[in-house]
């Protein structure tokens, strides 16, 4: 086998794994968009906020300590405990439910029936608010996140591929774990929406609010639930990215990676988010590998958008999105 082909295989695998994570982030958007028609610009910031909260909880950091110390002239920083990762994750997840409830209660409950653009603007406001609130609560410095996920080259894959191709693939253990977890989460979400009472209610709300009310569905509850699910998705994405490159502002930018995935997959389609994520993950890595060197690299920054734009021209509703039929 030619060397190029073997390298390409390695790139492909890495792309696939990046793609699953993109799909996960995109799913957070799809969930909320389907059930409420809100394009949640704050999804990325939610990932940042949840990861920062997780770090804070595990370290036993006193929330708002900076503020407290400034007002009361005290010097508190830590409660003095360290929580195990699992407890921290559960508490952070509970915190995301609380956040979902507050977002619904204080913001979107008052905007029911408003134009999509107004809802979108509200999420932009929410994004900036949460970003500032996260800094206020946990501080703005780059935080190290370690929940015990394995990191570094996977030796088994390295050896196995070396024996076959005479070239060892570099696959990071963290990527493998992230892929498996993301895949499980995606699968669980699909099962949830297809086969549970709440999932069925969620799909009903996504389809028609009035009809959903008439069969006895509590819209508010479903919306809080959907925001909570999006919060869990954000937490998982935040843990993966945060472990890799620290919990910092740039984490909120993963939302920008999800945008082209959504254009490709359609804003309302769960399978679309999955397939779209994989296509973009693989596409951008392979493109960088094959074409990157000729154009000076860094194609990963724009490839996804260009692909999405080309796609938009030919199939504006996305791969699996509901067909847009103009009524005249």
């Amino acid at each position: 086998m030619s060397d190029q082909l073997v390298y390409a295989m390695e790139v492909f695998l890495n792309g696939l794994m990046a793609g699953v994570l993109y799909a996960l982030v995109a799913l957070g958007f799809v969930l909320i968009y389907k059930a409420s028609g809100i394009f949640n610009y704050a999804q990325g910031v939610m990932a940042l906020f949840s990861a920062a909260t997780l770090v804070g909880i595990m370290k036993g950091q006193v929330p708002f300590s900076h503020l407290i110390n400034a007002i009361f002239d005290t010097d508190v920083h830590h409660f003095g405990w360290h929580l195990p990762a699992l407890a921290g994750i559960l508490l952070a997840a509970a915190f995301m439910v609380l956040l979902a409830w507050m977002v619904q209660k204080f913001v979107f409950r008052h905007l029911v029936g408003q134009e999509p653009i107004i809802l979108f603007m509200a999420t932009i406001g929410l994004a900036y608010f949460l970003e500032g609130f996260s800094d206020l609560m946990w501080g703005s410095e780059i935080k190290k996140l370690d929940v015990g996920l394995p990191q570094g080259i996977n030796l088994w894959i390295d050896e196995t591929t070396f024996n076959i191709f005479d070239y060892g693939f570099f696959i990071d253990n963290l990527d493998i774990v992230a892929t498996v977890i993301a895949a499980i989460l995606v699968f669980a979400l699909v099962l949830f929406s297809q086969y549970t009472k709440q999932g069925r209610a969620m799909r009903a709300v996504a389809d028609d609010h009035q009809a959903a009310l008439s069969v006895g569905i509590n819209l508010n509850f479903i919306w809080v639930m959907v925001w909570s699910l999006a919060g869990f998705v954000a937490l998982v994405a935040g843990i993966m990215w945060g472990t890799k490159s620290g919990v910092q502002f740039s984490l909120s930018l993963i939302a920008l990676k999800a945008l082209p995935v959504l254009m490709l997959g359609g804003f309302t389609s769960i399978p679309g988010a999955i397939v779209g994520g994989l296509i973009i993950g693989v596409g951008e890595k392979l493109f960088e590998f094959a074409i990157g060197p000729m154009v000076g690299g860094a194609t990963e920054n724009w490839f996804a958008y260009v692909l999405a734009l080309i796609f938009l021209v030919f199939r504006p509703q996305g791969l699996f999105g509901e067909k847009i039929i103009e009524r005249v």
């Binding site: 549970t196 799909r203 996504a206 389809d207 009809a211 009310l213 008439s214 069969v215």
Partner: protein, 273 residues
Amino acid sequence: MNDMSADGYVTEDGRKIGGTLMEMKNITLRFGGVKAITDISFDIREGEIRAIIGPNGAGKSSMLNVISGFYVPQEGEVWYKGARRPQMKPYEVAQQGIARTFQNIALFEGMTVLDNVMTGRLNKMKTGLLSQAIWKGKAEREEVENREKVEKIIDFLEIQAIRKTPVARLPYGLKKRVELARALAAEPSILLLDEPMAGMNVEEKEDMSRFILDVNDEFGTTICLIEHDMGVVMDLSDRVVVMDYGKKIGDGTPDEVRSNQAVIDAYLGVSHD
């Protein structure tokens, strides 16, 4: 003439009508300056088919929306099963056993007929999320039971052939029927139908009339319906409320209503002044 005593009576065709199931007391509903309903009172008895009729814009749909909690009246009380009903959200009303259809059809267009009808049973599903994950067997049994009930209703309304068809592809008349099926799936105490036969051809209207009568007869479901077609109303209903310009101008058996001068005037378009 039947003896309509407080505890109930038996109709000429042998159906048992019970006591008062729902009572609207002095309902007034305003939209800004528009008075959609002005001080209307009437009752619905257990097991009866109660019709609300009246010209366009009379406030019929508004009244149904008050009953189902979609509109909140400024004045008046709603009594249900002998107790005053506090202000409720539409989903809470539905959970109390009041199912409805809409004048403009509100179905889940993206779902199949079967899935649409299944949503009607969401309230009957007791198993919560956690127990669904833990006691898979119990959840499965519940799902099977619900499916059986739903299939029965689908057979009853003769829509087996379109069970798996996405609702968006159905013609208007069938959509109306699916909406009825979804409402029935909830096994409601009261079924509210807003113009179930509007926009149908004669044959479809006959089918729908038969279904409504059969539902009432076989399941004993109390039905409150709005209809424009006087002939249909007279055939179907036990008692009729007549509305015009938001006011009640008649209430009684079809025969009584038919001979009521105010009703005749409203329908013949005698000027209001």
